[in-house]
């Protein structure tokens, strides 16, 4: 930690300022903003689920604005090709050379809107960049600018003509975040802000300030990665993940990547709290968004109206907290 140019306190304060700045643009949705920041600090990707019109795009744009990062959006459609995402090689007739045209994936923050509308082949084009943070075009790897974060959205209502994300792809997302309707006060405030001296219904993001640079975000990620995790806490995270594998009502549980994600997200959570160590409460706080997309419900539980969150809450209730 001493090698970083940012101290823990500075990193934590910066994260808090970013959170506050985003909140100016995206009114309400405190939990979503917090969880997105956790993913950013942990260097992970987020899958956001919610009905249209709740501010998913706004969140990404506001985040990009506050970290002075590049932002790109891909609208996933059934006819989208992998090359439309990653880029391709074009032959330049004039210069008689092959030129690489980089796709929208070469950005800091990538919004993959309605990711489940594209077939699995196209969805898988994101796998390499999410995991390796590089794209291979014509056999040559091209690194994407760092920090890189994918925020994919999916609509829970429309099931027709959609392609559910394969488990391998779901596992690549650090968190799955639910974005819900704002409260009455939040919505009233948002309507007042958006309609005040505005043409159309676009949010005015020009008022948002850039709080950090992409380099600073990278340093914050380093600070988060250096946060201490005691063996007992590590053991707690692993026990939770393993408990999902034999849990009654779950078709399958989370793999080892679930344990890794729990610790990474818990570190980021501790950083947001301004702590230089992780304690079991951090694990509990991030457990649902980290694990809910890594487990699959048994059909009978789905029929009875249970969700992954219900069963994960039961897992947490039955898993002993660290014994010190």
């Amino acid at each position: 930690m001493t090698n970083n140019s940012l101290t823990l306190e500075q990193a934590s304060a910066l994260a808090e300022r970013i959170r506050l700045e985003i909140s100016k643009g995206l009114i309400g949705q405190q939990q979503v903003v917090r969880e997105t920041l956790v993913a950013l600090l942990a260097g992970g990707h987020v899958l956001i689920e919610g009905v249209p019109g709740l501010g998913k795009t706004l969140l990404v744009r506001a985040l990009a604005q506050t970290i002075s990062g590049q932002f790109a959006r891909i609208q996933f459609t059934p006819d989208l090709m992998p090359a439309d995402i990653s880029g391709h090689v074009l032959f330049d007739m004039q210069n008689q050379t092959f030129n690489v045209r980089k796709g929208p994936v070469f950005t800091n923050l990538l919004l993959a809107d309605e990711i489940n509308r594209a077939p699995a082949k196209t969805q898988s084009a994101l796998l390499e960049v999410m995991q390796e943070q590089q794209v291979t075009i014509e056999g040559k790897p091209y690194p994407v600018p760092l920090p890189f974060m994918t925020l994919a959205t999916q609509n829970p209502l429309e099931q027709e003509g959609t392609y559910p994300l394969p488990e391998a792809q779901l596992d690549r997302f650090l968190l799955k975040v639910f974005i819900g309707y704002p409260t009455l006060e939040e919505e009233a405030e948002m309507v007042a802000v958006v309609t005040d001296q505005q043409i159309g219904d676009r949010f005015n993001l020009a008022s948002l300030q850039a709080i950090a640079s992409p380099e600073q975000v990278l340093e914050m990620q380093k600070v988060a990665a250096n946060i201490a995790v005691d063996v007992a806490v590590l053991d707690y995270a692993v026990r939770i993940t393993r408990a999902t594998r034999q849990w009654q009502g779950l078709r399958f549980g989370a793999g080892p990547r679930g344990s890794l994600a729990l610790i990474r997200a818990a570190r980021a959570h501790a950083l947001l709290e301004g702590r230089d160590f992780v304690h079991p409460d951090d694990i509990k706080q991030v457990c649902l968004p980290v694990l809910r997309h890594r487990v699959s419900l048994a059909p009978e539980m789905e029929l009875e109206g249970y969700t992954a969150d219900h069963l994960l809450a039961a897992v947490l209730e039955k898993t002993e907290a660290p014994r010190k």
């Binding site: 201490a228 005691d230 007992a232 806490v233 702590r275 230089d276 160590f277 992780v278 304690h279 079991p280 409460d281 509990k284 947490l316 209730e317 039955k318 898993t319 002993e320 907290a321 660290p322 014994r323 010190k324």
Partner: protein
């Protein structure tokens, strides 16, 4: 009653098996039952028919039905003697009648107990055990414990059997009546007043058929009820075990005396067993059919020849009135009237039954009003209060495991370099206080943060502040392995007394 003389195999049966045994008893001993039973029932029926004024002959079946407890007593008398190897002659049965009428609670059975659905099952208590008053009631309650519902269902089943038999008998007459006069009588019985002669014959047929029905079903009903009763007593008094022990004792005594004779008899019996036939039956059948089998063509010719005979080739013309126009047809009108009157009859019966059901339900609702009101109240089930845990997070938090002066003990540990142990002891003491005195339900899955959340509504400002500070210090030393500074920790030791003081201590100090 000598159990040794019992003529059936006594063992514990299911209630329906026992009822079956009763039916089998009647089939097996019908010679000893039906002569006297026939004579008695038909005589009674005849006497009633003769004595009844002609205007009231239609009520005779009801009277015959009402007198069923009388028949039951006679039948039970026969069965109870047969069961213990004392066959009765018809004269014996007739001579027992006065005793059966006077000493078996017949008056009650014909009046307020007439509608008892388990009358057959209860009768042995009156007649054979001769119990009266409270002992009879207690005995009946005991026997009813596991057999009452079966006795009731047996009565219901036999009642339906009676309906089946009487309808079948009517149907039988209809099938064998070429004049259709019985059908006309049945149809007109519902729609118009009959002349005296038709009514007389109709009533006579009804009485005969009903007497036949009772004659057929009642012995089976009573035998099944008696068998149910015996089975219940076997269950209560272990008759089967007693009999087994007795026969075992007899056999052992006999064996010692006639061991050689028995062995010889067994050997002879085994050698005399015939071998099983293997081909015999098949061969016999083939030989038997060979003489009469004809080829197909010959058979057809033979059949044709037979059909040419006068007996099979007669043609008879039957003329019937057929409806020309539906409205003018009398038969159809009659049928319509019949169906309408049957519907009205059925509707009235159903209406009456529904009203009775409503009244019964209202009475029951009034009788059981407390239970019903109790059911309507919202459930006020309190969660069972769990005893406070002894061990939490691997820490022993029993009061006896902690030192008397916690603050001093913690400070001593802290000053001697055992900072982790000192904070562990302080946190343990805090948990003990929360679980035992503040009654906070802490589970194994609760983290330190969860406990703070749980404690927040229960603790006053200073106490929750102290607990928060201790929790933070404990988390720091446990998970970050960092020792908090003395100036942060010493006040926590000092304030333990404020946190840990019970209400009584506080009042005493005040």
């Amino acid at each position: 009653m000598k159990l040794d003389d019992i003529t059936t195999l006594i063992r514990l049966r299911t209630p329906w098996e026992a009822a079956d045994l009763g039916f089998a008893m009647v089939q097996n001993n019908w010679r000893g039952i039906f002569p006297a039973w026939t004579l008695l029932l038909f005589s009674l029926s005849l006497i009633i028919w003769l004595l009844m004024p002609s205007d009231y002959t239609g009520y005779i079946p009801i009277l015959l039905w009402w007198l069923k407890p009388v028949y039951d007593r006679i039948l039970l008398h026969i069965y109870s003697r047969q069961m213990f190897s004392q066959p009765l002659s018809t004269a014996d049965i007739f001579s027992a009648l006065p005793g059966l009428i006077w000493n078996t609670g017949l008056l009650g059975a014909l009046t307020w107990r007439r509608f008892s659905a388990s009358r057959g099952f209860n009768l042995p208590i009156w007649q054979l055990e001769q119990l009266r008053g409270t002992p009879r009631k207690e005995r009946q309650n005991l026997l009813h414990l596991q057999a009452h519902s079966y006795a009731v269902w047996l009565t219901v089943a036999c009642l339906h059997l009676e309906y089946t038999v009487i309808f079948s008998l009517y149907a039988l007459i209809l099938f064998f009546d070429p004049t259709e006069r019985v059908w006309d009588y049945l149809v007109s019985a519902f729609v118009e007043n009959l002349d005296v002669e038709v009514q007389y014959w109709g009533s006579l047929i009804y009485v005969v058929l009903y007497t036949l029905t009772v004659w057929l079903i009642e012995p089976f009903y009573m035998a099944a009820s008696f068998s149910l009763y015996l089975n219940r007593r076997t269950q209560l008094e272990a008759w089967d075990i007693e009999l087994t022990f007795r026969s075992l004792g007899d056999r052992l005594r006999g064996l010692t005396q006639h061991a050689f004779g028995i062995a010889l008899a067994v050997m002879l019996a085994l050698s005399a067993l015939p071998p099983a036939p293997v081909f015999a039956s098949e061969q016999a059948e083939q030989e038997y059919l060979a003489g009469e089998a004809l080829p197909a063509e010959d058979s057809a010719e033979q059949i044709k020849a037979i059909m040419q005979l006068d007996e099979f080739s007669q043609v008879r013309t039957v003329k019937r009135w057929m409806p020309k126009e539906k409205d003018e047809d009398k038969t159809d009108k009659n049928l319509f009237e019949l169906s309408e009157s049957v519907q009205v009859l059925f509707a009235s019966a159903m209406k009456g039954m529904l009203w009775i059901a409503v009244v019964v339900l209202l009475v029951l609702a009034f009788v059981y009003r407390r239970q019903i009101l109790a059911m309507l109240k919202p459930l006020q089930r309190k969660a069972a209060k769990q005893p406070p845990p002894d061990i939490l997070f691997g820490m022993d938090i029993r009061p006896e495991s902690l030192p008397d002066d916690i603050a001093t003990a913690c400070r001593r540990l802290w000053d001697t370099g055992q900072q982790r142990d000192a904070l562990s002891l302080l946190y343990r003491a805090a948990l003990m206080r929360l679980t035992r005195h503040d009654h906070i339900q802490v589970q194994d899955s609760h983290t330190e943060g969860d406990i703070l959340q749980l404690a927040r509504p229960h603790l006053a400002g200073q106490r929750i502040a102290w607990l928060t500070a201790v929790t933070r210090a404990w988390q720091e030393i446990a998970y970050a392995h960092r020792i908090p500074p003395n100036e942060r920790i010493y006040p926590l030791f000092d304030d333990w007394l404020n946190f840990g003081a019970t209400q009584a201590t506080v009042e005493a100090q005040a």
